[in-house]
Each structure stands twice: as C-alpha cells, then as structure tokens.
C-alpha cells in the first residue's frame, strides 16, 4: 500500500463517478463508467488484491462496458438528466 497514490486515485474515482452520472449522453456515461472500473482496478492492485483487480479488469473494462453500450445502442442515447 502506498497511501499518497491511494488518495490521488480515490479523488479521481469520485470525479469519474460524478461525471458518469452528470453527463447527458448515455454512451459517454457508459464510457466514463469503464474508466471508473479501471481506476478501481488500479486501486485494488495497489491494495494487494491482485485477483480482485484482475477480475475487475476483465469484467469492468471488458464485458460490463460492452453490454452497457449494447443496451444504449439498442434503446436510446439521450437522457434528460
């Protein structure tokens, strides 16, 4: 564990979460959620949870983002809030 690195990544995490929820384009929202997942993956690797980080890298950046984008593509891209 490296506490300074940890604090920086955590602040980025909050920024990414707020952007993912405040942006009006749902496609952009899904992409930012992918970035959020990757930041969390970095955080877990730093905390020593390598297995969890590996899973999150495969799931969050791979499958989760893709199925989210597939849904946005099949339904609608616009959001009112």
């Amino acid at each position: 564990m490296i506490w300074s690195f940890d604090i920086i990544v955590l602040i980025f995490l909050v920024i990414a979460a707020v952007i993912a929820l405040s942006v009006r384009d749902l496609l952009a929202s899904s992409m930012v959620l992918g970035i959020y997942s990757f930041l969390i993956c970095i955080l877990w690797a730093e905390m020593g949870a390598v297995d969890v980080a590996f899973t999150e890298a495969a799931v969050g950046a791979g499958v989760s983002t893709v199925i989210m984008i597939a849904t946005v593509f099949q339904t609608t891209r616009k959001s009112k809030d």
Partner: protein
C-alpha cells in the same frame, strides 16, 4: 501536522467510500433515466466492494501468493518432509475479503446484464427510458 496526516491516512479511504456510496444512492433514487439508475447501482456496488477489500489491507504486506515454493516433481508430495518456513500472518494480505468479493464482481456483472435486459424490455413496451414518461404512459393505460 503529523497527527493530522496519520488521521487522514487512516480514515480518508472510508470517507471516500461513504461519498461514493451516497453518490450511487442519490443516483438510484433521484435520477430519472433507468440507465443512469443502473450506473448509480454500479457505483454503489463498487463502493461496498472497495470497503470490503480495504478491510483486508495490511501495512507493508505482500500479495496473498506465497513464494519460495518449489514444485515437487513426479507426484512426490511429502508435506511432512518439506521444511516449511514459518509465515508471519502480518506480512501477507488477508485473503478472505478478496475471495468474498471476487465472486461478487462476476455475479454483479450478470445481475447488471439482467437489469439491462429488463430496461430493454421496458423500452420495448413504453418506447422510453425516462421514469416520468413511463409513469405517464402507465397512467394513460389505467384510465382507459
């Protein structure tokens, strides 16, 4: 200053987890769009998983994969004969939260897929993902 820094390092993680959790909760309650609600659900879920994993962190500890282990050849597994070094539990990260949360992530993505499927079904019926529009159409259907 040092006291404050120690306090910050000790508690800063938990504060951020609470903030992330509350961001997710707020999105789940107040956002109008169904996909946005699901994004909030994802953030809430990861905040809880982060909390669990950070419980197992130990200062200056290694990852929970033991080294210094030679693979026995030819199926000779004499565990009594091997000289195992004593492992100090303080030097290895606690593996239990990792195990619990590893499955939670994969189950999380399948539940997210389920929720997205329901959202697609809702869009198929009401041609909208906005909560208020769906409610208005439901009201219209009831008045008939």
């Amino acid at each position: 200053m040092d006291v404050f820094l120690d306090f910050l390092i000790a508690k800063f993680n938990y504060w951020i987890y609470v903030i992330l959790m509350m961001i997710g909760l707020f999105a789940m309650i107040a956002k109008n769009n169904l996909i946005k609600k699901l994004v909030g659900m994802c953030i809430f879920q990861t905040a809880i998983i982060l909390f669990y994993v950070s419980i197992g962190v130990k200062e200056d500890a290694r990852i929970p994969i033991l080294t210094g282990h030679e693979v026995p050849h030819g199926g000779h597994y004499h565990t009594e004969d091997h000289e195992r070094p004593y492992i100090d539990a303080k030097t290895v990260t606690n593996p239990i939260p990792h195990v619990l949360m590893l499955t939670a992530i994969v189950v999380g993505v399948s539940t997210l897929g389920m929720a997205l499927a329901i959202a697609q079904k809702v869009h198929l019926h009401y041609d909208s993902l906005e909560e208020d529009e769906i409610l208005a159409k439901l009201q219209l259907g009831n008045n008939d």
